[in-house]
């Protein structure tokens, strides 16, 4: 391709509207008591990068519409698009997605959206992931992506949940870590621990980050996703530990719910 014919193509792709399109539910997976994964067929899906999200739009019989954003859990290598949704009590959209949606149902979606909170194996270097609750979802897309591609670069996942049965993707992450010695997974359970639990049982703090995250001199790419208070504290502590703020990418949710 010559420079002259590259220019209009770039301009056109930059302005391409992210159109609403139908997404059909092909599979529903119960991840935890309050979290389900929706595996969707999107006919015209253009592909995505790990960490990106989609907007979804629901329409009621009377024409009322509601929109929300959800992170993509599946890696780009999979044909179907998986969203993992946590039921927010008093929410408007998430209780519908978690409790009402059935196999074969269709709703509208557009995406992928977001170009900053993104990691691919082309990034190289160590990868440091820190998650709170359903904040693990976009990070899981990164883990699944590196797993699918057989990438062996070092990665750590520090994952805070309230209790063991609220750990999303627990078996899959354990299986991944068993197959990949370069993947280090550390869980902390903040509210309730099973008998014999030998892991952490407190909120993520400085010493936990210091011992699980790669040191600043190794220049890890850092992704932090979870509730606002967790993300604020973790990002601040990582800066105090000497990490360059520009290497720390964050996504926060709440307290708005959805």
């Amino acid at each position: 391709m010559t420079a002259t014919d590259a220019t209009p193509a770039t301009a056109a792709s930059e302005r391409r509207k992210v159109e609403w399109q139908p997404a059909q539910v092909r599979k529903i997976l119960a991840e935890t008591p309050s979290v389900k994964s929706l595996v969707l067929h999107v006919a015209d899906w253009q592909g995505h990068l790990p960490g990106q999200h989609v907007d979804i739009r629901l329409t009621a019989e009377d024409g009322y519409q509601a929109q929300r954003s959800y992170s993509i859990a599946s890696p780009p290598e999979e044909e179907l698009v998986t969203l993992t949704v946590e039921r927010v009590e008093d929410g408007e959209v998430s209780p519908y997605l978690v409790d009402e949606l059935r196999l074969g149902d269709t709703f509208e979606l557009r995406g992928p959206i977001g170009g900053y909170f993104v990691w691919t194996i082309a990034t190289r270097g160590p990868l440091c992931l820190v998650a709170g609750g359903s904040g693990v979802v976009p990070l899981m897309a990164m883990l699944r992506h590196r797993c699918k591609r057989g990438y062996r670069g070092p990665v750590s996942l520090l994952y805070s949940s309230r209790s063991l049965d609220e750990v999303i993707y627990r078996e899959e992450i354990e299986a991944m870590a068993k197959r990949a010695p370069e993947l280090r997974v550390v869980n902390t359970l903040t509210r309730k621990q099973p008998p014999g639990w030998s892991g952490y049982s407190r909120r993520i703090d400085r010493s936990m980050l210091g011992s699980t995250c790669f040191p600043p001199q190794e220049k890890p790419a850092i992704f932090v996703c979870g509730p606002t208070s967790l993300v604020e504290n973790v990002a601040k502590t990582l800066v105090e530990l000497g990490h360059n703020p520009l290497t720390i990418k964050t996504e926060r949710f709440g307290p708005s719910g959805g």
Binding site: V18, T59, D62, A66, E100, E108, G114, K236, L238, V239
Partner: protein
């Protein structure tokens, strides 16, 4: 768009008649104040903060926090709309309007049609100057009567409430005047260049 897809069993839980005409399309009302930013919150102290108006590498006006506090202060109570779908009604801000900043710098009008806001943490966002004048925008230092918390953009954030809230840049340190429009941080990453919530200009091409 093709035929409307109706979700069986989905009904509105939140919106009443009271918000009709006040809530842009695709938004919902929240009473909380969600925080969204791309990286760690900069911890700039008020005494270390300065704010400047810049044109072609030279400063048209520069103020430290005390000097800034001595400029005419305006209170603005307004609705705000985030591209991530939440809107918050009746938020109260206090700060210095763009008009008063121009005056304080001895300018009768904005010297160029566009500005780029520059912030701690490297964040930028671009705006037409015509969207900042006539009381439409301010550099706010107080929210709800108190200093703006760092996570919400303190010591000072730009406030341009008629556009999606990413345009109201947190931790703002300067406005650079530009002859020609250039995309800022989110505007380079697929978000709309202008961001009018009433036209639902969320993403590029909307």
């Amino acid at each position: 768009m093709s035929e409307r897809i109706v979700s069986r069993g989905f009904t509105s839980r939140r919106q009443g008649q009271t918000v009709k005409g006040r809530l842009p399309p695709g938004q919902y009302v929240t009473s909380g104040f969600p925080i969204l930013s791309a990286g760690p919150t900069p911890q700039t102290k008020a005494e270390d903060w300065t704010f400047g108006l810049e044109l072609k590498g030279s400063m048209l006006g520069e103020w430290n926090f005390a000097e800034f506090a001595a400029l005419p202060q305006t209170t603005l109570t307004t609705d705000i709309h985030c591209v991530t779908k939440w809107s918050k009604f009746d938020t109260a801000w206090r700060g210095v309007t763009f008009d008063d900043l121009l005056k304080a710098a001895g300018l009768e009008e904005a010297p160029t049609p566009y500005v780029m806001a520059h912030c701690d943490g490297g964040y930028t966002t671009n705006l037409p100057t015509e969207d900042l004048v006539d009381g439409q925008a301010m550099i706010a230092t107080l929210y709800d009567g108190s200093p703006i918390l760092p996570a919400h953009g303190g010591p000072a954030r730009l406030l341009v409430p008629h556009l999606y809230f990413w345009k109201s840049a947190k931790w703002v340190r300067s406005l650079s005047f530009m002859e020609h429009d250039e995309p800022g941080f989110w505007e380079q990453l697929g978000y709309h260049n202008y961001g009018d919530p009433w036209k639902e200009q969320r993403y590029d091409g909307d």
